[in-house]
């Protein structure tokens, strides 16, 4: 069994006690945990269930229903490629193929250096300037293969800037 580190447990407890009184508190709690930790540790399910007076199965059911929630730590940056029709009309299929082959990973996977996690997304609402990609909270339009490579290389070099 994985040991649930104290600091993580502490953060999860803080989030729960802050939000559990809201009506329909579960999604806000899950968002807040993922926002802080990058994922929802499976070990936190028990304390959420207890706080909301629900079963663990119910909490697990909600986490697994939504595409947003993940139960493993992601890479440092999340890159989402839009797969919806407006982007398809502008070459999103080719962009997806390029991204997967140049990064050497498939959707829902993280690069070996843990810099980047690749996810699909269905519409970023930037449909008039497709194809679109979201890098963390930033949306980028008219993404070509070259522009994608440039985005990725900026993410990979950012690490060095922080250290210098």
């Amino acid at each position: 069994m994985t040991v649930f580190h104290e600091p993580l447990q502490q953060q999860v407890s803080e989030v729960i006690s802050e939000l559990k009184h809201k009506p329909g508190a579960l999604l806000p709690i899950l968002h807040a945990i993922q926002e802080r930790l990058g994922y929802i540790p499976p070990e936190s399910v028990g304390s959420i269930a207890e706080a909301l007076n629900q079963s663990r199965a119910e909490i697990h059911g909600v986490i697994s229903f939504y595409h947003q929630f993940r139960t493993t730590p992601p890479g440092k940056h999340q890159v989402e490629i839009c797969r919806a029709e407006a982007c398809q009309a502008m070459g999103a299929r080719q962009l997806e193929a390029h991204a997967k082959s140049s990064l050497g990973i498939d959707y829902h996977q993280t690069t070996g250096d843990r810099t980047l996690t690749l996810e699909p997304v269905y519409c970023l609402g930037n449909c008039a300037c497709a194809p679109s990609v979201r890098v963390n909270d930033e949306i980028v339009g008219r993404v070509t293969a070259d522009k994608f490579d440039q985005l990725v290389s900026e993410l990979q070099t950012q690490k060095l800037e922080v250290l210098s």
């Binding site: 508190a25 029709e85 009309a89 519409c123 970023l124 300037c129 339009g141």
Partner: protein, 518 residues
Amino acid sequence: MSKIYIPRDTTALAMGANQIAAEIAAEAEQRGEPVEIVRNGSRGLFWLEPMIEVETANGRIAYGPVERTDIDSLFNSGFLQGSTDHPLCQGLTEAIPYLKKQQRLTFARAGITDPVSLADYQSLDGFNGLKKALQMDPQAIVDEVKSSGLRGRGGAAFPTGIKWQTVLDAVSGQDQKYIVCNADEGDSGTFADRMVMEADPYMLIEGMTIAGLAVGATQGYIYLRSEYPVAHQILNEAIEKAEAAGFLGDNILGSGQRFHLEVRLGAKAYICGEETSLLESLEGKRGLVRAKPPLPAIVGLFGQPTVVNNVLSLAAIPFILSQGGQAYADYGMGRSLGTLPFQLAGNIKRGGLIELAFGLTLRELLEDFGDGTFSGRPMRAVQVGGPLGAYMPESQWDTPLDYEAFAAIGAVLGHGGVVAFDESVDMSEQARFSMEFCVEESCGKCTPCRIGSTRGVEVIDRIRNNENREANLELLSDLCDTMIDGSLCAMGGMTPFPVNSAVKHFPEDFQPKTEQGA
């Protein structure tokens, strides 16, 4: 001091608006030319983004699409002093034909104002509807909405006034009713909700507050999709300012009336745009569709009477209250009254938002506004109404943009999203994607949608591989009928629309590759 407008809308940002704003500020400082930069919303002329505007005595002059490399030449051309001598100059913004030809009721302020400035909002009729509503009794507010003919923008096009009447008449055991704004705009090719929230959030806040006064609800929730981080930020800023200024809260403008508003984030589930699934999600559950009846108007959020309206419906309310329901109903045709914001997207040269009265044709929209494809290749198919909408071939492009006219040919207008494809599209691949999307996004509650979509992908794969093609085409047709007739909600019930339309109008794409062109 020159005043420059640089949008903070998602699309403008996606095309580099933040960097442009920073570099213009730096360049102005270096040149000793004082500027005030206002971060407005977008006008929705997205092919020109980032479109910056300079205020002059004659009105605002637009330049776009601006790239970093243009900044030096813009300054050299004297754009800050109103000189229009630059290749990117589009002239007076209001005179750009794309904008001038529109009839903007809902988007009247979009792109003109700083979205979170209360002063800007009030200087352009903001909160006039709310002030009127505070003087009216609830029934009179509902009657005004009824007389406008406003219909829901989520797809089903249900009359908004009737829905409000049901909630007003409903008796709540706990003395609590809710206003829920469906801001889970998940359809590809739609961004009108996003534009409202990013360009004019107070209009939505005002519309929801009026809805609360009309039906006796004191709590509102905006269920916003998490794919819209910019809208999230702007809505929260706007709500905080509106509360501080007394437009929301326990004592709205000193009237003693109460309304609270909170933004709740979705978690990437397309099905949560369906109203009952959205309510389940707001309650903290899996977004499983509820069987109707009971209607959410009677048993809604937390079991209480609830108005669930789309962003655009609620955003139309301030105009209806301030100008009167009849002023709204004077636009449009037949039973489709008022205006509809159309959204042009995909492979289109001039994509953007076009608000017009119902009634112009799809072709006018594609040609007069869109100016053809982005790629320059011939346009082949147009999907209207999101991923559950039909693919329309050129023979259908003269259909007027009207709910009934679209229904008559088996298509849907839905939220007004229009996605264009050029001749390189493979329609069997698009049909397959529609089924695949349903597999990915079905809530799983009913069998036709959950299993039918998986089987649909398999059957289309067999057709594409030329395995028993005729028999499999027949099987696909049967499967689509089962999904249409047997699904609990529009997810399974409408996924066959794009599939059937692709098979019907583009049969050559379902032929074996070797036979093509033979």
